[in-house]
Symmetry: C2
Subunit: 353 residues, 2 copies
């Protein structure tokens, strides 16, 4: 079968031939329809994220996937059922985090991540998986189901953010999304029904398709080159919820200043090492005196995929069409991994329903 | 009546004479028994915290108080009932935060704080208050009821910390308290029944009464001069919960490193401005990849006082005796506001039951 993989020393992913996988007992065989590309894929390609599967000289990419059950193989799934796979798998048989369906909370070393770290991904014509890692989705999501995985990361992050404010009455009215990449835009759309006013930070000139989407969502585009994060509070308003999806480390700390009292900032970016000066005393004091919270959130699991499915069903048609800007065949791999400001979510289509 | 107040320009609190307050309709008159002294009092004295009540040239100190209802004055309280007052009062009639009994979450400008900022405290023979700000406590707490207010701050902080981890299964086994002042020691004792192993950070040489208490609680004393916070994880173990009560700004950031995956650091200190360099990229990444949380917590209200009452009832007798090291009469005000390593909690006793 065809697969898209990065090989040791490669700087670009390539299409390769691999034997189609045979499902073990208790595993279903899934035929891949679409796989999305995101920033993590580029980190894997650049070798900055995770490692190859044990004993292999290549890593099949892909972690944002929708597929169809080709052979339920005696599992509780049904042939023809549309599914989205989760990413983490246990090292060894299982562990407490997997046993209680919370592998997203598992510490490093207890899991591998399909398509990212230590396990092959889903960017191939077929893959196998135990059904507990396959989330059934509606048949009408064949084209947009690749958005369930990224949206599930936001579902988890928001779930944790709301939990962190659950010891008191908290009704957020305003939210700021830092980052206008696909995850930022999806989050902005998800927040549309949660808060009254939304802002989205980017660093792009008009005309730009992400700014168009931001404004079609009735959100306010904030250009970080003219309005630094720390000034958003004054220039617009403080926000109850901030969602960082830039990976720009200073944003983690600047978030404190943009939050309204009792606000929460949830961090999802994964920056590299970077030392800089902060007004650490003032920020510490501000966190305390205004009951603020900063949370990190990584990965997601079945409950969050279920939340994401519900959110996806509520997103407007035009938004889904505008966000998935590019669809390529596996053979167009070179094109697919190009980047550009005109692209938002690129997907590779292996097959259709 | 006698009161202990700080006057404009004074560098030390003094005993003054004031007319005893007359309760308004809907207010009870309370006879003060004991008032504790804490770091906030010294900040008020040094003029670093809040301002005097409108139109007054002095501020009566005191916010850790136990008293007895002298005249219920038609309220639902009973004469002779032991009570502990809460601290925040609304600016103006009321506001949404007070209406829902969450003034601890009210933003700056919407409240004054008795004994701290803009309102007279309880360090006087009598005070008046609406009953909604008076928490009834057991008669046997006449001597130790001054601990309810500081413990209520911890009750709130822990309530928020646990809430922040409530979106997944979290059973903390280890906790670190940063700071061996009275609040740190009270928190350490409160955590004794919550986690398996506790650590307490200080910078004192033995013999020292706080180290004695730490070790009598079966906690581990960590000397920050030989074991910096960032090294606690390696030298001892990572902790699920960190509680910062030092006001030392770097601890807010170092806390991230001492936390186990999925851990939470709750900050209560109120540092001044201080700029310094941090490894902001690494810390941001660590917060995200390990699902960590940092929360600020300030003040507390009736529900937290109720929690504190329950915790107080569970503390061992020896601990309470060891923590309240000094009891002074109002006339001994000069002595009472001396500081020393042999003192833990100092209280001023206006009367006995």
């Amino acid at each position: 079968m065809k697969a898209i993989a990065v090989t040791d020393g490669d700087t670009r992913p390539q299409i390769i031939e691999k034997p189609a996988p045979e499902p073990d007992e208790g595993e279903a065989l899934v035929r891949t329809l679409r796989v999305g590309i995101d920033g993590t894929d580029f980190e894997v390609i650049e070798g900055n994220h995770g490692g190859f599967p044990d004993g292999d000289d290549h890593q099949v990419l892909g972690h944002e996937t929708v597929g169809v059950v080709e052979d339920a193989n005696g599992t509780e799934l049904e042939d023809g059922q549309l599914v989205v796979p989760t990413i983490r798998r246990p090292v060894g048989e299982s562990n407490a985090f997997f046993d209680r369906d919370e592998p997203d909370m598992a510490p490093s070393g207890t899991y591998v991540e399909r398509g990212i770290d230590g396990a092959h991904g889903f960017m191939a014509e077929y893959f196998t998986s135990p059904p507990r890692y396959l989330v059934p989705i509606q048949a009408e999501f064949a084209d947009v189901g690749v958005l369930v995985e990224p949206m599930s990361n936001t579902a988890k992050a928001l779930d944790h953010a709301f939990a962190s404010r659950s010891a008191f009455e908290w009704e957020p009215e305003t939210a700021l999304v830092l980052g206008n990449g696909p995850l930022g835009l999806l989050t902005l759309a998800m927040l549309d029904s949660t808060v009254d006013r939304t802002y989205c930070l980017g660093r792009r000139d008009r005309p730009d398709p992400t700014i168009d989407i931001i404004e079609k969502l009735d959100a306010t585009y904030v250009d970080s080159r003219t309005t630094p994060v720390a000034e958003i509070q004054e220039q617009y308003e403080p926000v109850d919820l901030a969602y960082e999806a830039t990976g720009y480390a200073k944003h983690a700390y600047e978030t404190v200043d943009v939050l309204a009292p009792n606000g929460v900032g949830v961090l999802l970016g994964i920056p590299g090492d970077w030392s800089f000066e902060i007004d650490g005393g003032r920020l510490h004091r501000e966190i305390v005196l205004s009951n603020k919270a900063l949370l990190g959130s990584v990965n997601s699991h079945v409950t969050h995929f279920e939340m994401a499915k519900e959110s996806l069903a509520k997103l407007p048609e035009w938004f889904l069409e505008d966000v998935i800007t590019d669809v390529f065949t596996p053979e167009e791999v070179d094109d697919a991994f190009e980047r550009g400001d005109d692209r938002i979510k690129t997907v590779i289509e292996f097959d259709t329903l």
